[in-house]
Amino acid sequence: MALLQAYGFLIVLMVINALLALSLYLPLMSGQLSLASPGFYAFGGYIAAILSTRVFAPADGEPYAVGLVVLEMLIAGVASGALGVLVAIPALRLSGIYLALATIAFVEILRVVSLNLPITGQAVGIFGIPQPFGSQLGYLLLAIPLFLLAVVFVARLERVRIGRAFTAIRADELAASAMGIATGPYKVLAFALGAALAGTTGALAAHFVNTWNARQGTFDASILYLAFVLIGGSRTFVGPVVGGLVLTAVPELLRGSAQVGALPAWLEGFLSGGGRLIIFGVLLAVGTVFFPQGLVTPELLARLRRGRSRPEVAVAEAQP
């Protein structure tokens, strides 16, 4: 339990980052490379921060009701989804790297706006966001259910009609339209779903980190979430989940290993200084070289499933 308490912050952060990786994966399901997740994450966070400090603000000394956080998450999710639709309609006229650039611009616009608006606290941000839990580990009570919901949602989505339309558009947009799929609305839907998930996560994160300012949701975060998806694997939802969890943990574990005391002094210094980030960067680069499809691929999952149940089918299906 002491260990859980010590690592409470990290565990919640891992789940939050896995959620954000999923939010980037959703538009990608329909082939749209969007880096807008940090923008919607920041947007959702501001909604929660403003609601909880101004509208639902508890009397002095009173704890903040968990139900209100859930309500904020819902509001933030719906608002971010709606903003996602508004952004998607013009942005999805672009595709590939140009869409990625446009979504980075969107993140940057939101950042500059929140730096200047009084309601978002300008450069100072919003601080003293009320806490519903006694410890940071308590946030798992909200983070884990949201994570499970998101995972089940995306897993189901991949197997039903709408998800198939996404998959078809990603595989070959032209062939998809020749199959009668109205590609435009489906791309907007995928984009908005990602936005809603990022916004919901942001609302939770605002309480979790206690202060919210324009340093939340920046270009750096765009690239980090993209790394989660690419290193984890971009062809099944399991990839971003694994990527988000593992890549959040690795730098902290490297930091932790420096404190064990069994390492030579120079290595300890290296790890607790900038060295662990250098190692992290090298791992990312090596990962992309040896796992160009990401750590988790649909083929890997199929192999794992077959290994457990029907080995005789494996032979038949492995044939080209």
Binding site: A171, S177, M179, I181
Partner: protein
Amino acid sequence: MTAPPAAPTLEVRGLTRRFGGLVAVDDVSFAVQEGEIFGLIGPNGAGKTTLFNLVTGLTPPSAGALLHRGDDITGSPPHVVAQRGIARTFQNIRLFTNLSALGNVMIGRHIHTRSGLLPGVLGFPSSRAEEEAVRERALELLDLVGLRDRAQVRAGSFPYGDQRRLEIARALALEPRVLLLDEPAAGLNTNEKAGLSRFVRELRDRFDLTVLLIEHHVPLVMGLCDRIAVLEFGRLIAVGDPAAVRSDPAVVEAYLGEET
């Protein structure tokens, strides 16, 4: 007074497409009647595939009109054309290569299914029933093209001929009234080519289809098609039944002459 003849299934009027200075399809007009197998031939670069792209909405025309059963559908986007019951295959095969054969055909059922986001994700009974029906129908179509036993195999790993058949199964999943086949015999061996003629006729009869097909292999076209249109440099130089087209001097000079 006699009743006016029914509107042709598909009619193109003065259809033109320019790419910069190149006129890929130049003022082409013809009508395809219900139930016909209509061939489109011509030398490489004659504009056959561009014409298919115009008919299916993938490329908007520069001029001219496209009518489906008398309705003007000029400039309709591809998904609207597909929803009207006009399905196609592609010359360079455009399967969803990472999906299974079954997955490919199931996507073809899109326009005949309704499941929304939440009913699908939450697994409502109506949605589950629809999903089951889609799977069953897709398996039937795979059976029809002889690929049912490999339903779960990745489409991209199929041999060329099987990919062509899978693409036809996927197009049939749309329950089209008009089927456009872009070089269905390309890459098939002699045996498969012979089978293809039989197969296309069978499909026409079984599904009440009107078939348009582009084909390079002249004996196959002559034996299979009710009527044939010949394109050269984007212009229509002849249209008629196989015998008439075969003896047309312009056609012989432009195309057939080189073959014999």
